[in-house]
Amino acid sequence: IAGITQAPTSQILAAGRRMTLRCTQDMRHNAMYWYRQDLGLGLRLIHYSNTAGTTGKGEVPDGYSVSRANTDDFPLTLASAVPSQTSVYFCASSVSTSGLNEQFFGPGTRLTVL
């Protein structure tokens, strides 16, 4: 593994189903993030984690939950998917939460909720 991996690459999901998007980084970064990307809106932060064991809400957290049991993994769960959660989801990480630090992005997961 080099950098950030996300799984699955894409998924079609029925509304009401539960779904977990996986994210793993091998850079030993303290901070991790989940974004959704929608046309014309750029990327919006869903949840973040400053370090293992802590999480926080971003700009659009409703309908999503996260956990950070260890440094490397930061899964995003949709408890009961709705069509408005159709989007491309990106996981990112950075050395720390300083505003000076670059964020490194995974390749994304394309999710369609029908």
Partner: protein, 113 residues
């Protein structure tokens, strides 16, 4: 509060001609500013960043950007476009508190032969 406005949703240039992608920002304190590029069906890659050092920042692939505080701008330029530059470009400002990145809506750059 911080915000970013990318002034053009689409820019089209011919190969070999200059590229200008415009970005204005709003910030209540000295911001960190970034440009990221996203090629089709790929993740985002950092092009360059400004963090209160030199106002002219050089990035990868021949891109550069100039921080102009008086104009609250951070425009991205490249002297000569290449076909491989066709992508979506995001101007980003670092927000208050935790490392919150605030993204512009993006500018799609098309490069024609």
């Amino acid at each position: 509060a911080q915000s970013v406005t990318q002034l053009d949703s689409h820019v089209s240039v011919s190969e070999g001609t200059p590229v200008l992608l415009r970005c204005n920002y709003s910030s209540s304190y000295s911001p960190s500013l970034f440009w990221y590029v996203q090629h089709p069906n790929k993740g985002l890659q950092l092009l360059l960043k400004y963090t209160s050092a030199a106002t002219l920042v050089k990035g990868i692939n021949g891109f550069e950007a100039e921080f102009k505080k008086s104009e609250t701008s951070f425009h991205l330029t490249k002297p000569s476009a290449h076909m491989s530059d066709a992508a979506e470009y995001f101007c980003v400002v670092s927000g208050a508190g935790y490392n919150k990145l605030i993204f512009g809506a993006g500018t799609r750059l098309a490069v024609h032969p």
